[in-house]
Symmetry: C2
């Protein structure tokens, strides 16, 4: 990763590298690990971490390791779409959960992945790979296929032209087949995924559209293969999705925008 | 606010000042507003904001104003306590909401304020001043009194010795009366607040305790004055709070720790 010698640029980019070294799979880090992870000298890491702790962006645990701080969480809640969309979608997701008793999740597009911004889970429902804040691949998850289909031609070509990891024996990785799935999804607004992300889970997903016709999120129900028929899940997912879209100002007849 | 001339220190603190200039009451800002807010020269603000946008920490809206970015939201979800506690508390909060149909909220202590980390709201329930990520005063909110009571002697003396804003005509601001309320709350684990934060709302709150006896959060139900009796709300709030505490490893007989 390029680093310049201009002091300002270097320091600020280092600060951000330290922050973004924290990830779901490594949510607590020691100074040594941060130095190794970022390639920044330990003394500099120590100084910058001290500053981040002072600002509340990081917190020091009693064992000396560092985690993301509550103040950074608060700052994150100001991200548009997430908190407002979550708040607005919550009653619809509650109702869908009440009706189906299966995982319900809401995701948005970030880069070339889907990010889960809200999730309701049944204690006995199928094991789910995602968590709130977690990422799902676009090509083989229900919410991912919906978001990819409506993300514009450039995104589709970038994703289909890149690496398409095979998550299970059923993962569709053929670009032509995926392209035709994308076209179908744009037509119906829904995607059904059977065992492509995890062997024993199916996902039924639909788009969430705002008042200007933009697809801003995807809503899905994840069920154990065979436990709920597609025919039973799809209409309720679609109606919940339309309900959320209406709250965002969408009305029948508004044309989809793709940008 | 002190600034040194040491280039490293100055740049990193400026970056953090720009980030934390975003607040609930000003969640989108222009470059000019950021410069005014932080006292940092516009050219520097422009350069640092560009870097923050590049890292996904901020996002540029189509109208040229800036907001917190989705990637920062994701980073925030890694803060311990918030996401794990929210996930774990969610079914109990759902059930409490089903039973009472009133606002249910979960808050943790941050500095000298309570931060709401989860909230469920009834469409027809009383207007609530808080939102997820929002802050409530310790001395006159239900969750605040619970958190303050268990926050240790230093915190209590700092808060009671400082400014105690009178939010309504019913806000208790007398330090001696507050001290006796704190003692009662430590004894019972609950606090009932009537019209102290907003005239027409009462709050019934209880503590959440972890397996080591630490009070890590407070749970409350906020009701329109007179709509639900204290006698009806309190037992359900307490049982829900105990249920969440048990999930955190608490068991009857574990002594409360105060640090």
């Amino acid at each position: 990763m390029p680093r310049t010698n201009e002091p300002g640029r270097s320091v600020s980019s280092r600060l951000l590298e330290i922050l973004f070294a924290f990830r779901a799979e490594q949510s607590d880090l020691s100074l040594t690990e941060l130095a190794r992870e970022t390639g920044i000298p330990l003394a500099t890491v120590r100084r910058l971490v001290l500053e981040l702790v002072g600002a509340g962006a990081l917190e020091r645990r009693s064992d000396g390791r560092y985690t993301v701080g509550l103040r950074l969480w608060q700052l994150g809640t100001l991200a548009p779409l997430t908190e407002s969309l979550r708040t607005l979608a919550q009653p619809f997701m509650d109702d869908l959960y009440t009706a189906l008793r299966q995982h319900v999740q809401l995701a948005v597009l970030e880069g070339q992945q889907a990010v889960v911004i809200e999730r309701l889970s049944a204690p006995k429902a199928v094991g789910l790979v995602s968590q709130v804040g977690g990422r799902l691949p676009l090509h083989c998850s229900g919410v991912g296929k919906v978001l990819l289909s409506h993300g514009g031609a450039d995104l589709i070509e970038n994703v289909l032209g890149g690496r398409l990891p095979r998550q299970t024996s059923r993962t569709v990785v053929d670009p032509d087949l995926l392209r035709s799935q994308m076209a179908a999804c744009r037509r119906t607004g829904t995607a059904t995924v059977r065992g492509e992300l995890t062997e024993d889970a199916d996902s039924v997903a639909t788009r969430i559209v705002d008042g200007e016709g933009r697809v801003v999120a995807a809503l899905s129900v994840v069920v154990r293969t065979g436990s709920v028929t597609h025919q039973a899940a799809l209409p309720s997912v679609v109606t919940s999705g339309l309900g959320i879209s209406r709250q965002l100002g969408w009305r029948p007849g508004i044309r989809l925008r793709e940008d």
